[in-house]
């Protein structure tokens, strides 16, 4: 269904958005609404972190974006082309990793890439071999290219999935959980790869249920929960919105006094870590947290020093996306954790 107010007569006009959906909805035959009226806006050139817990509708949204599943409501455009009608035209410019890698187990990594390349009507068969090798090298699989896929580790499988997405130059990459199964080193490499591709002008839509893994590379963020897009926008702007907290480190013996000072300068939610300091560490450092509110941090430090409290540390903590998510939904982010 088109929503005429949002979709101008030009339909898939190129409006500077690499991915756009309007009221995108998927209701399964069971009646469950997996995706409910999602309006994605991914600007060209952005690295868009598509975040949400497992089961929040990210993958179903991505399946609809790529034409694998039909929306039961709303519309979607990739690079200005309506999906799924213009899939044949636009998908060659889109690289995708959907819900984990999947390849023929008894074929080598190289043969699997050749198989996918053979399906691409826009791919030049003469350069197929060279492009496959380049893609394999890029994800660090060059040495394992001849091994059958079934012998790959989970991390190698994930890398082969990325290599498939990089077989051709792409304008848009849709990467669904690209860091799944990767060790910290592999995760760093994926982040690096995403940044590199983004620097070269490729728009990247990357989904993850692990906020921290992806957060740092994103220019934009959209947060899904229970089929709804809770919010989206530039990452910096979103995290500014959250309430900053102040963390004061002082001596255990001075906790009570420090708490009084903090409350005195107008901070709320002042919380010493665990009430009474442990006798054994009676003079050890203790962290007190408080909601900063509009109070300038320097006023707090001055008040503490003035009260004769030993200020061992003072830190302003801006919430990260995970905390923002918890604030928005009142629930933990990663249901799998």
């Amino acid at each position: 269904m088109t929503s005429p107010a949002e979709v101008p007569g030009t339909g898939g006009a190129d409006d500077g958005l690499a991915v756009r959906t309007a009221g995108l909805t998927k209701r399964f035959r069971s009646g469950q609404v997996a995706v409910d009226g999602v309006d994605l806006r991914v600007p060209r050139g952005a690295v868009y972190g598509f975040l949400g817990p497992n089961g929040s509708g990210k993958t179903t949204t991505i399946r609809m974006l790529l034409g694998l599943a039909r929306p039961t409501g709303g519309r979607a455009w990739l690079l200005g082309a309506a999906m799924p009608d213009e899939a044949t035209r636009v998908l060659p410019r889109v690289g995708a990793l959907v819900e984990g890698p999947a390849f023929h187990p008894y074929l080598s990594g190289r043969a699997n890439l050749a198989r996918l390349d053979a399906g691409d009507a826009t791919a030049d068969p003469r350069t197929a071999r060279r492009r496959a090798e380049a893609a394999l090298d890029r994800v660090g699989l060059g040495a394992a290219a001849a091994k059958p896929y079934r012998q790959y580790s989970l991390g190698m499988k994930q890398r082969l999935g990325l290599a498939a997405a990089l077989l051709q130059p792409r304008d848009l990459l849709v990467l669904d959980e690209p860091t799944n199964g990767l060790d910290p080193q592999g995760t760093r490499e994926v982040r690096h790869l995403v940044r590199e591709l983004a620097d070269a002008g490729t728009t990247v839509l990357v989904s993850s249920h692990l906020l921290a893994e992806i957060e740092q590379v994103c220019t934009h963020v959209g947060i899904m929960s229970r089929g709804h897009l809770l919010l989206q926008g530039e990452r910096a702007a979103l995290t500014e919105r959250g309430a900053a907290r102040l963390v004061v480190t002082t001596r255990a013996t001075q906790v009570t006094a420090a708490v009084e000072v903090l409350a005195g300068v107008g901070l709320t939610e002042v919380a010493p870590p665990d009430g009474i300091p442990h006798p054994a560490r009676v003079d050890g450092p203790v962290r007190i947290t408080a909601a900063l509110g509009p109070t300038p941090p320097e006023k707090v430090s001055a008040a503490l020093v003035h009260a004769g409290i030993d200020l061992l540390g003072l830190e302003v903590v801006r919430p990260n996306l995970e905390q923002l998510f918890v604030e928005l939904t009142g629930e933990g982010f990663d249901v799998a954790r």
Binding site: D14, R44, G45, R63, L66, G67, L68, A69, R70, L79, G80, A87, T88, R89, V90, L91, P92, R93, V94, A96, V98, E99, G100, A102, F103, H104, P105, Y106, L107, A114, R115, L116, A118, G119, D120, A121, T122, P125, A164, Q168, D171, G201, T202
Partner: protein
């Protein structure tokens, strides 16, 4: 491409025939290169070898008097080993192989998850299904040829190739005999096209390839059972397997192409019906695997 630049020109697709052929070659390499399928073909090829060996050792057809007359003639003329082996494979072994190959076509890719990656390449769904169908048909042809070619070689080695005695008792020269047997091979291969279409349809319904394979084989078996029940004789002419053994027509002095045409028409009808169903299903289904 930077933000300020105009979007890159869309990639130019290759001319349609080139794109089709490239995908088909890849598909054939996948189907025929697969160890399991090679084992199936080897297993089929073993049937004439075993049959020929048994008949050569006993020099007396165990089947003579029971089976059709051409089985009894094998020891006299190696050419008949082709016919006898096809006769033995047609009720179960060939449908089994066809069921495995066609049932696996789409469901195998769906089960492995490779289907979604092919579709986002993008391979248009109609093109993918057509290529899958062609590859399954090629495999069916290979299955029949595996029996026929081995039968011919083994038969020639054990019993030699001689003038062919037809069902009526009259004899045609060996050259014409070979042509007639080639006609039988072609008819048997074409008789399996309906089952390929059925298998392909089942294959679009599930992401569990074994389910589609089993369902396909069951269709062939149920068809055979129904064909043996006189109570439902009204539906016999339309049954998938009813005309399979009409290949014996090639062994008559005057081949009745009307009978053969009828058999092929029934296959064409099954192909049209289940091919359409497979297409309707596959081009609209949500890929959730």
């Amino acid at each position: 491409m930077s933000l300020a630049e105009a979007p890159a020109a869309p990639p130019v697709p290759a001319p349609a025939p080139v794109a089709w052929l490239r995908l088909l070659r890849s598909e054939l390499r996948l189907v025929l290169g697969r160890r399991r399928n090679q084992v199936l073909l080897a297993g089929l090829a073993l049937v004439p070898v075993l049959l020929g060996t048994v008949l050569a050792l006993t020099r007396d057809s165990a089947l003579s008097g029971q089976g059709p007359s051409f089985v009894g003639q094998v020891t006299g003329n190696g050419l008949f080993l082709v016919v006898a082996a096809l006769f033995l494979c047609l009720p179960f072994l060939l449908p089994l192989c066809i069921g495995i190959a066609s049932g696996d076509a789409v469901a195998g890719e769906a089960g492995a998850g490779t289907l979604r990656y092919l579709l986002v390449v993008p391979v248009p769904r109609t093109r993918l299904l057509t290529v899958k169908a062609v590859a399954a048909l090629v495999f069916a042809a290979c299955a029949v040829l595996a029996v026929a070619v081995t039968g011919l070689v083994v038969g020639a080695l054990y019993f030699g190739l001689h003038d062919v005695t037809l069902l009526s008792g009259s004899t045609v020269p060996v050259g014409e005999g070979v042509l007639r047997v080639a006609g039988i091979v072609a008819y048997v291969a074409l008789s399996l096209t309906g089952l390929v279409a059925v298998g392909l349809f089942f294959s679009t319904l599930t992401e569990v390839p074994v389910g589609a394979m089993a369902a396909t084989v069951v269709v062939a078996i149920v068809s055979t059972v129904l064909d043996s029940l006189p109570q439902v004789s009204a539906i016999h002419p339309g049954l998938l397997t009813h005309h399979w053994f009409d290949f014996a027509e090639f062994l008559r002095v005057q081949v009745d192409y009307g009978v053969l045409g009828q058999g092929l028409a029934v296959q064409a009808a099954w192909v049209a019906l289940f091919g359409s169903l497979a297409w309707a299903r596959f081009t609209t289904a949500d890929i959730t695997s």
